[in-house]
């Protein structure tokens, strides 16, 4: 039961709003000081889901990621959690904001790697929040998919999963090969272990370029992208909060009530 997991490195989503800034020219966020890039939360739980399946059913877990060579660190982290191998898709011509291109590249890479029963992705990425790469990969590879999922069971060539919906969940079954978008409700991602780190450090991550995975140069031309970003900006927030005071916190609480009553809010 071989799993492929797609991960991405993103700016730290816990960056406080006050420290968030964007590079207007490059049209992307600038990692805040002391806030290094992290592996997208949901991708980490996707790795966790893959490792649980490996523990139950055996097989191999392969990590795929598209990005700069520095992303190798993120792939190695997943290897130290217990994944078996990693493949980095790295090419100067890749534009990560073109989410359809990212989906296409990952799909082609997974196809090239071959022998994959289940593809796992995070339900959504913490930078572009596009929410379409996983489903896009499934469409390109013409395999069934479910997103977002909080529980996965594998049974004899089929999956039974719980898909999160607004007021509960759907119990869904689908055949393999398939793609699943994983949500954090599946459980926390494990820490690497000492043994895992020592094993991972000895492995090397394969690097594939756009040519290696068979992407036509014309597709890499930004003008061939269907969706273009026109602008990226930080919306101005003009609210001024009225702070309610008091001699003691209790008094402030009571004053808050009085203030809201005055405004006829409560």
């Amino acid at each position: 039961m071989n799993c492929a997991v797609c991960i991405a490195q993103v700016t730290n989503p816990e960056t406080p709003a006050a420290a968030f800034s964007i590079d207007l020219k490059a049209r992307r966020a600038i990692p805040a000081k002391d806030r290094p890039l992290v592996i997208n939360d949901y991708d980490q739980v996707a790795v966790e889901a893959a490792l649980k399946i490996k523990e139950a059913k055996g097989g191999k877990v392969t990590i795929f990621s598209l990005g700069a060579p520095s992303v190798t660190v993120a792939i190695k982290h997943c290897l130290s959690m217990g994944a078996d191998e990693g493949i980095l898709l790295s090419d100067e011509r890749f534009q990560a904001e073109d989410r359809a291109l990212v989906a296409y590249a990952l799909a082609m890479a997974i196809r090239k790697a071959g022998n994959v029963d289940l593809i796992l992705c995070g339900r959504q990425e913490g930078d572009w929040d596009a929410g379409q790469v996983g489903l896009g990969i499934a469409e390109i590879l013409n395999i069934p998919s479910v997103n977002p999922v909080r529980k996965i069971e594998v049974d004899d060539g089929r999956l039974v999963v719980e898909r999160i919906v607004d007021d509960g969940y759907e119990l869904i079954t689908l055949p393999l090969p398939a793609l699943i978008g994983v949500s954090n409700e599946i459980g926390p991602a494990r820490y690497p272990t000492m043994k895992g780190i020592m094993t991972a450090a000895r492995k090397s991550v394969d690097v594939w370029t756009a040519d290696d995975i068979g992407i036509a140069p014309s597709r890499l031309d930004p003008s061939s992208a269907k969706v273009n970003m026109l602008d990226l900006f930080i919306p101005m927030r003009e609210r001024v909060c009225e702070f309610i005071e008091g001699e003691t916190p209790e008094e402030a609480g009571a004053n808050l009530r009085l203030r809201l009553r005055k405004e006829k809010i409560v």
């Binding site: 990692p31 000081k33 002391d34 806030r35 290094p36 890039l37 190695k76 982290h77 130290s80 494990r190 820490y191 690497p192 272990t193 000492m194 043994k195 780190i197 020592m198 991972a200 450090a201």
Partner: protein, 437 residues
């Protein structure tokens, strides 16, 4: 949070000392400390039973991350993580959160070290067999999903730093071991060891005949529970709650002969214990100072006094810079030291006088300076620095103990001098203290 991308970070942990694997290990413990220890660091020292906060953290660290198997060889199912730099980086990060938790995990490794080093690198067949026997008997229980603890049971209440003073050749070890038939019989009292009273396995420092010095010096492994072995009550200290210290009473404790060795090879293993602990404690001390510095830096940036943030006042800026300077220099020193200890093929064995002296130059500097600076920093936090929930005063308490371990800073300074001249600070020179018979 460990900054991975800043220039400061690259300069502070340079490639020449820290390789990829070590960096991954460092990041693991930095993340662990930030996520597991930092949110509760103000509650750790009040967790008197250990059940609420401490033991859950230790389970994650020792079992889930697998640290309790670090000093067990790979062919016995362990991690065989023998590198000093990796262990130093781990110690630095965990101490940044809580020095007591660091002591627990470091000392489980410390308890295993004699057997593992003997098994992997022992010069004679006898000492290798001893290591193998101990590993065979006890390693499996450290590979389960239960929290397991080891203890290097060395110190004694009457002669703690006299034992750590290697010039005494073990003649101040009053825990007596005798060979009777196929067994070792141990009698005596130990006191202070980290993890005493909670350990599953002890490596006990004994002497068959104190007057004989090295010849009678012995290291004997004793598991717990075990007939004849009992404990006193846990010490109530100025903090460092996660570190359990108590007495261990040996009343005719009998163990198979395979679990002990005596003589010069035991002594050399003991010397290795001392010098490697000194090297690793250098790193932990930097971690404590870093933890305090981070709190102080942030607090003095938000708190306004005299019309501006506290750290805009010259006096505070001077102290912050001095702390950063000691961190910077201390870090470079412990990295270099531990790197050298990782490469005996270049720098020679660790158990020489000069290697110990070098280790002590590093450890004493950081261990003595850290508590002073942290106390000074408390002035700039005012009462807030004295209040538990502001996370500063715990570093003041952690730091106070740094000076005291491993025989203390004074013992360390004596060792430093021996690099340059034959300073005699043993208990047995002319006019010196005579041991009890």
């Amino acid at each position: 949070m460990l900054e991975q991308t800043s220039q400061w970070y690259k300069l502070q942990y340079p490639e020449c000392f820290v390789n990829e694997e070590q960096r991954m290990i460092q990041k693991l413990f930095a993340d662990f400390t930030d996520r597991e220890i930092m949110p509760v660091r103000d509650k750790i020292d009040d967790d008197l039973t250990h059940n609420e906060i401490i033991t859950p953290i230790l389970k994650k660290l020792q079992v889930d991350l697998g640290c309790q198997a670090d000093m067990i060889p790979a062919d016995h199912g362990g991690n065989q993580s023998l590198g000093m730099v990796a262990a130093a980086l781990k110690g630095e990060q965990i101490s940044r959160g809580d020095w007591g938790i660091n002591l627990h995990t470091a000392c489980t490794n410390w308890g295993w070290t004699p057997a593992t080093i003997a098994y992997l690198f022992g010069a004679s067949q006898a000492v290798k067999s001893w290591g193998k026997a101990v590993l065979g008997a006890f390693a499996p229980r450290f590979l389960t999903n239960d929290l397991r603890v080891a203890c290097f049971n060395m110190a004694e209440s009457e002669s703690a730093c006299d034992i750590e003073n290697h010039l005494n050749d073990g003649r101040m070890v009053h825990t007596k071991a005798e060979r009777k038939g196929d067994e070792w019989v141990i009698n005596g009292t130990k006191h202070w060891a980290t993890n005493s009273g909670i350990a599953d396995l002890n490596c006990v420092v004994c002497n068959m005949d104190a007057k004989s010095g090295i010849e009678g010096f012995a290291l004997i492994y004793v598991p717990e529970p075990w007939p004849g072995l009992s404990h006193g009550k846990f010490e109530v200290k100025c903090g460092v709650q996660a570190d359990r210290n108590t007495s261990t009473f040996f009343d005719d404790v009998k163990v198979p002969k395979e679990w002990g060795i005596q003589g010069p090879e035991a002594w050399n293993l003991f010397l290795n214990q001392l010098v490697s602990a000194v090297a690793l404690q250098s790193a932990s001390a930097v971690g404590v100072l870093q933890g305090a510095f981070d709190v102080l830096l942030e607090y003095t940036g938000t708190r306004v006094v005299g019309g501006k943030p506290v750290r805009q006042h010259l006096s505070t800026a001077m102290l912050l810079a001095e702390m950063a300077s000691v961190i910077s220099v201390g870090r470079a020193a412990f990295l270099e030291l531990n790197h050298q200890f990782d490469h005996p093929e270049i720098y020679g064995p660790r158990i020489t006088e000069s290697a110990l002296a070098k280790a002590r130059t590093v450890q004493t500097y950081i261990a003595r300076t850290t508590p002073e600076l942290i106390l000074k920093g408390m002035e700039f936090m005012g009462s807030y620095g004295y209040v538990r929930e502001n996370n500063y005063e715990k570093y003041y308490r952690d730091a106070a103990a740094l000076k005291l371990v491993l025989g203390g800073v004074q013992l360390g300074y004596f060792s430093v001098c021996r690099q340059f001249y034959d300073l005699d600070f043993s208990s047995f020179g002319p006019g010196k203290l005579q041991p009890a018979t």
